[in-house]
């Protein structure tokens, strides 16, 4: 029996990276800036978007919703009169736990790219898998709620390392939970030294203005030539 060894030396996620670059090129061509919004389930991504997007002055925004099943979140975004496109990942084996570049690629024809300046991709709630898969975003933003505990950066270092902004949500719960902000910051700086962070409560609206301002500035930033 004859066997041949074939040298490959290829990153197995190269195919995803290639599609992600194609997505980004499409978004760039349309002049659309893209945020990949990630968090654990229940950290408050959708509530934050409901709080932020209606008052984003001068920015036309669209949302791409990734969920394992159902349209609950998409319905909420539609409720604030923001164009929303849904991707359900359940066609995979029991439902994929993240969006990948190909899923976003298949949704592009349904996106109103000519009518928006900013696309927020709300990823599937998960702190592990979405970190591995670029989807064509310009920036990655993650939401970490104080209810999750201050140790999460150490447990999910890849997620915390690959984002450009951390939104610390649910600070209205601080009196009720054992969450030490100094320790959280220390852990966050251990895995991603100096990453910008904003404290807020999507429920009360406290601190949300800073995130809205950040989004507005990001959306209107000129594309690098």
């Amino acid at each position: 029996m004859h066997r041949t060894k074939v040298r490959v030396l290829e990153d197995v996620l190269d195919a995803n990276a290639t599609i992600a670059r194609a997505n980004r090129a499409d978004f760039d061509r349309a002049g659309v800036r893209v945020v990949n919004l990630m968090s654990s389930p229940g950290a408050g991504k959708t509530t934050l978007l409901e709080r932020t997007l209606p008052d984003l002055a001068g920015v036309r925004v669209g949302v791409l919703e990734g969920d394992v099943a159902g349209t609950l979140d998409a319905d909420r975004i539609a409720g604030i009169h923001v164009p929303v496109t849904q991707i359900n990942t359940e066609a995979g084996f029991g439902g994929e736990c993240h969006l990948d570049a190909n899923m976003v690629r298949s949704a592009i024809p349904a996106l109103p790219l000519d009518e928006i300046d900013l696309l927020v991709i709300e990823n599937v709630g998960n702190l592990v898998c979405p970190a591995e898969f670029r989807v064509g975003e310009d920036v990655r933003v993650m939401v970490a709620s104080v209810a999750e505990g201050e140790d999460k950066p150490l447990k999910y270092p890849l997620m915390f390392r690959t984002c450009e902004l951390v939104l610390v949500n649910k600070i209205d719960l601080l009196p009720h939970v054992d969450f030490d902000m100094d320790r959280f910051n220390y852990h966050l700086d251990a895995v991603h030294p100096g990453v910008p962070r904003l404290l807020m409560s999507a429920r009360t609206g406290h601190g949300v203005d800073a995130w809205r301002d950040w989004l507005g500035e990001f959306a209107l930033e000129r594309q690098p030539a």
Binding site: H2, V12, L13
Partner: protein
């Protein structure tokens, strides 16, 4: 969790390089920082491989420890906890020198004449 997607990506890459031949061994380098659980990946690989050129192939995983290097003082060290700061000078300017790879290193393929042998 994402081991299933990783298994699919491994098989897709291996299949592309196999050029129609049956794959008998897949050698993968898995960086410690990639949060891949080797046992889960092995399990997913067996199932996802069914019906592909990789069906029945042996998946060999080499787990690569994470190594960092400080741009400030030049110290190199192996990461054992999630601390991306130089333990000697405290600098945040650190570079990952190993441990973030997810690399299909090589495959072994069976040549044409024994492509139709009965499964072992």
């Amino acid at each position: 969790m994402h081991e299933l997607s990783v298994a699919r990506a491994v098989i897709a890459t291996a299949t592309r390089h196999a050029e129609g031949r049956r794959v008998t061994v897949v050698q993968l380098r898995v960086g410690h920082l990639r949060q891949v659980v080797p046992d889960s990946l092995a399990f997913a690989f067996v199932h996802v491989a069914v019906g592909t050129l990789c069906e029945g192939a042996r998946l060999e995983q080499e787990v690569v420890p994470a190594r960092l290097e400080c741009a400030g003082c030049g110290l190199g060290w192996e990461l054992d906890e999630a601390m991306f700061r130089c333990p000697r000078c405290g600098s945040a300017g650190v570079r990952i020198t190993a441990g973030d790879e997810l690399l299909l290193e090589s495959i072994e393929v069976a040549d044409e004449e024994d492509a139709c042998i009965a499964p072992r």
